[in-house]
């Protein structure tokens, strides 16, 4: 789907630094207006409609407000007694037996027929997508175990889904992207990668353990992951570039929060999807890092490279993603780590560390030495002085994310230049220093006026899903 431009005409002209709509390229953008007042006075300044859509005083459907009264919701056919009243009690009983209230009793029958488009995975994908359709039913689920509302194969009277690991990975990736994930990777757990799981939850302090149990369990003190759950699915959720550019103001915090919220609900969708296929899927009880290290699993799954931010930088979206992980017993084909020259670029760049208002980020080369007890050793990293960052959050009454905003990899792909430079960085590190200088000369990394955010015409979630923008 093609989205509108992320800018309205007014902002476009403001950005260009032109006072009217008479010069050069701006003329192309404003063919019907003579000055800014006309633009702002126009309904288009309020709402963008395609040119063939006209606003009318009355809707195209005829309404007689005198005849209409408020309607009783129980009389809609979604209310089962009302449905019975409409089609007759006997027929309603017959349909309920074969289809349940909304067709769910027919799921098993349809899947057994195994027809194209109606296979087990199709049903599971749909169930995962719609689990939150009735939020009133899900008030008290444990995020670690998932909503557990989708019918399992056992409940449907069908065998659990079986596929080759490669097929399963493809299937999970397709479902996750549909649910809202930007990029997806998989890690097969071994004695090393298990170390990326926290021993205790950061927030409720519950112990996270692996055990020879059949089912995942959660008690008041523990979360138990079955040993046969050997695969971690890692996925990223995008944040809005225009919001990140308005760091450290609430506009930037909003896109962080939205991505975290989306990540949580995407994980729930995945849990329901895998449950319907007959597998367990354990997610984080608190999406801000209660189960495992996001950066660690992101690196191992090849979602991105560990950077000077001591966070991931992805080749697709730079650092402006949030990274999530779930663990499952569905066999998956692991994805390999990646090298796009980004970590090497960090060595000479240092733009984030220079811009950091609290000097939290390291200006030195990567080191095995941790900065404090808050760091987990064993990685040659740009360890950050994290408490300083959180002091800033508390003092500023918000958070920060300036480092993400100024990172040279925080680019949209609206100009060819970025892809060209990214390929140069990946293949020719000798130019890294010069490219960092060019990033400054071209004016990138300058934080934007937070007030101007309200004048933008952004696509849903603030990013165009058809591009990296």
């Amino acid at each position: 789907m093609k989205h509108h431009s992320t800018m309205n005409r007014r902002t476009f002209m403001k950005v260009l630094g032109l006072s009217g709509a008479t010069a050069g390229a701006a003329t192309l953008a404003t063919p019907v207006f003579h000055d800014l007042d006309e633009v702002m006075a126009s309904p288009i300044a309020e709402r963008k409609l395609p040119f063939w859509v006209k606003e009318v005083d009355k809707p195209t459907v005829e309404i007689d407000w005198k005849r209409m009264q408020r309607f009783d919701g129980t009389q809609t056919v979604f209310n089962p007694p009302s449905f019975g009243k409409a089609i007759g009690k006997e027929e309603e009983e017959r349909l309920r037996k074969i289809g349940g209230l909304f067709g769910e009793a027919g799921y098993g029958r349809v899947v057994k027929e195994n027809k194209p488009g109606n296979r087990h995975r199709d049903l599971a994908m749909s169930l995962g997508a719609r689990f939150f359709q009735h939020p009133d039913r899900y008030a008290k689920w444990k995020p670690f175990l998932g909503p557990q509302q989708a019918p399992t194969p056992q409940q449907l009277g069908i065998p659990k889904y079986e596929g080759k690991p490669e097929e399963n990975s493809r299937m999970v990736r397709a479902a996750l992207k549909f649910y809202g994930a930007a990029t997806v990777g998989m890690v097969e757990l071994d004695e090393n990668t298990r170390k990326l799981f926290y021993s205790h939850d950061a927030f409720d302090k519950k112990q996270v353990i692996f055990s020879d149990v059949d089912e995942p369990q959660e008690t008041d003190t523990q979360r138990v992951i079955p040993n046969r759950a050997k695969w971690v699915i890692v996925f990223s959720v995008r944040m809005a570039p225009a919001n990140i550019a308005r760091a450290p103001y609430p506009a930037s915090q909003a896109t962080v929060g939205l991505a975290y919220s989306e990540g949580a609900i995407i994980a729930n969708r995945l849990q329901e999807f895998l449950r319907a296929l007959g597998y367990h899927c354990m997610a984080e009880s608190n999406i801000m890092g209660s189960l495992a290290n996001s950066g660690g699993f992101g690196v191992m799954a090849g979602i991105g490279e560990l950077s000077r931010l001591n966070r991931l930088i992805t080749p697709e979206y730079g650092p402006i993603v949030r990274v999530f992980k779930v663990v499952t017993d569905l066999p998956l084909a692991p994805t390999k780590p990646i090298d796009a020259g980004m970590r090497e670029f960090c060595r000479t760049c240092k733009k984030c560390a220079e811009a950091c208002p609290t000097k939290t980020l390291s200006m030195n080369d990567p080191s095995w030495d941790v900065k404090g007890f808050w760091n987990n050793p064993g990685v040659k990293a740009y360890y950050e002085d994290a408490p300083k960052c959180l002091v800033y959050w508390r003092q500023s009454g918000g958070s920060c994310i300036i480092c993400f905003a100024v990172c040279p990899f925080t680019k949209q792909d609206k100009t060819f230049m970025h892809a060209f430079i990214q390929k140069t960085i990946a293949t020719t590190p000798a130019f890294n220093s010069a490219l960092r200088q060019m990033d400054d000369v071209f004016g990138y990394g300058k934080l934007k006026d937070p007030e101007s955010w309200w004048d933008l015409d952004l696509p849903p979630f603030g990013y165009d899903t058809t591009t990296r923008s």
Partner: protein, 93 residues
């Protein structure tokens, strides 16, 4: 839409240039063709970078693109037109 309009304008310009070249019986060497085509590619890149950078809210990057790519484009374009013209004038003289 931008690219559609730009394509129309560019196509018309190229057509006019080729007609003018034919009418004036101007002969171009291979390296003049290379300079002309390189200039055209650079102009396209300038326009793409300008529109893209403005859409990204990066006006400085837009104008720096004009500077870094536009100047070589103009130089190459002028050379591609001037060199065969001068040669023609010289041969007539």
């Amino acid at each position: 839409m931008w690219w559609f309009v730009f394509g129309l304008v560019l196509g018309a310009c190229i057509l006019a240039l080729l007609r003018w070249k034919g009418a004036k019986k101007i002969r171009m060497t291979w390296y003049e063709w290379v300079m002309g085509i390189a200039s055209l590619i650079l102009i396209l890149l300038v326009v793409q970078n300008f529109i893209g950078s403005v859409a990204e809210e990066e006006p400085r990057a837009a104008w720096m693109g004009v500077l870094f790519l536009g100047i070589p484009a103009v130089i190459l374009g002028v050379l591609a037109v001037r060199l065969p013209l001068q040669r023609q004038v010289r041969s007539r003289a």
